[in-house]
Symmetry: C2
Subunit: 324 residues, 2 copies
């Protein structure tokens, strides 16, 4: 089994590769080789028995993508993307990477011909939905994104469905909730603060909260994200019919509930490191984001997520301790 991971140096990509290397098998087969691709060459300590081929490049370049696909990976995880804030600021770059990158990938797969039909797992986002919406968004609600990033993800979903329907690829698109707690530094995503208000206080630093405490959002842990990817890679796709893209399960929590969980897990001193500094721009963006979902379809085909926000915080603390 040969696996290609695009966006392998990213937050989710790195964890996915850790998990693949820990499992050593997937879908009942031994993992023989992993091709890890990103803008900067992914650094992976290769364990015995699995070949790791790391390389650097740009998915917006068709020839680069074609060369990766020419190795005929049995499974492809496409996680490479620029985040919403950056795609909104640089319109051309967003379409080039987030949409054309996917087109190049699908075309490269199709060009390999009839006897090649790999499983392709694509990370979409709940950003495909935009207000006004139902308080609890169901599986048949329209995709009406309010950002270019969300538009690009929605287009990728449509293409994934069509190429799968035509038999060119065996695709599964998973709409990830906002991943919290994201380790490391804040990034350009407007959602960055959802992780910041947990991560920074736990690290002894002050965090800025740019929105009101009653803002509700849909979140899942990094470990759940990897779990979704593993399930999407191995599930029976016949049950999906022509609708290959699914809203992943998650937790619907308010900022107040998140802070309350932080207080419960780590104490007052930590929770008090959050400083409220409302930012009208971020408030406006976040107001257009979904708050809650009925992810019944994904659940019915075996996807599952975190049970409580305190669990998510505890998992983050354990992760940080493990990484040192």
């Amino acid at each position: 089994m040969r696996i290609l991971v695009l966006g392998a140096a990213g937050m989710v990509g790195r964890r996915l590769i850790d998990r693949l290397l820990a499992e050593k098998t997937i879908a009942g087969e031994t993992i023989g080789a992993i091709d890890a691709f990103d803008v900067v060459e992914p650094q992976i300590a290769a364990p015995e028995g699995v070949e790791i081929h790391s390389s650097a490049g740009d998915i917006a370049d068709a020839a680069t993508v074609k060369a990766l696909v020419a190795k005929r990976p049995d499974m492809i995880f496409h996680l490479a993307a620029i985040v919403s804030g950056e795609a909104e600021a640089d319109f051309d770059k967003g379409y080039r990477i987030n949409q054309e990158g996917m087109s190049h990938l699908l075309e490269a797969i199709r060009a390999e011909g009839e006897n090649y039909r790999p499983r392709l797992v694509f990370t979409s986002s709940i950003a495909v939905f935009g207000a006004p919406f139902e308080e609890k968004i169901t599986d048949t609600f329209l995709a009406a994104p309010l950002t270019s990033y969300g538009t690009q993800k929605a287009i990728c979903e449509l293409l994934l469905n069509d190429y799968s329907r035509k038999g060119f690829v065996d695709g599964v698109g998973i709409r990830l909730p906002t991943i919290v707690v994201r380790p490391g530094k804040p990034n350009k995503a407007a959602s960055s603060f959802f992780s910041g208000i947990i991560r920074e206080p736990l690290a002894g630093e002050e965090a800025i909260l740019p929105v009101a405490d009653d803002v509700r959002h849909w979140v899942a842990s990094p470990a759940s994200a990897v779990g979704f990817l593993m399930h999407a890679a191995t599930m029976d796709t016949d049950v999906l019919g022509a609708r290959r893209c699914l809203t992943m399960p998650g937790l619907s929590v308010t900022i107040a509930e998140m802070i309350e969980a932080l207080r419960e897990v780590a104490g007052d001193a930590v929770a008090n490191r959050i400083r409220r500094e409302p930012d009208a721009v971020i408030e406006k963006i976040v107001a257009g984001w979904p708050r809650d979902f009925d992810a019944g379809r994904a659940e019915s085909v075996g996807f599952s997520a975190d049970k409580s926000f305190s669990d998510i915080i505890r998992a983050h603390i354990a992760d940080e301790a493990a990484r040192g």
Copy 2:
């Protein structure tokens, strides 16, 4: 007022131009020039006062589209497309014309810069919806096309919304019902028989009905389609918010009701010219098509359609008589 019509030689395009030339003004302004573009040069008898510039080319060619937009039309109607059957048979051609053509158009408009923001009316289709669906599809139901054509239209809708949201264009997308009675010869659309079973018997010819009598579908007349385009071109788009694409009103009729109306308008001898010859391929395609809609959103912003199927037949008979 300068108007650009892409797909001007098509069934709807020709009628739109007739209507524009008959009106002579639009949105309170005199129509000074019409640029009529299609694969084959549109043949238009120019009346006094309006300049007609006909030209031939391919919207899949970016430079061609750029040259058309460089004339800075105040209003653009984008009707150029290949039909569902052809887009399904030729995957590359479908994407090139139906999707990339739209991308070229949007990019050409954006490239003109900040002080150019024309009204762009785009003809989408109810083919963006695919089974399983609600018996009466509402305005917040997901687009889940079951054809490449529907996928291409859904992508165009997403792009139109995003470019409009960004202020690059003032877009309105109208999801046309199946247009019945389409004059002329049968075409490659799988929906061709919906017109055929009315048009051929009225012309004294036998028509083949490839599906069952209880098949229900969503239709509107050519005149209604032109009415939708005119309203979309002149309406206040502020009321649309970020959702620029609307399901147009129509009539939900069964084949049996259509034949009944034909019998009522033209008599038994005509209605008996329909021969039932079930075609499993067409039946399967049609089973994935929407049957009925609640087009409440479009109606609430002023779009309106035909009142009965016998009216549609009578209008077709009058049209044919007028054209000789």
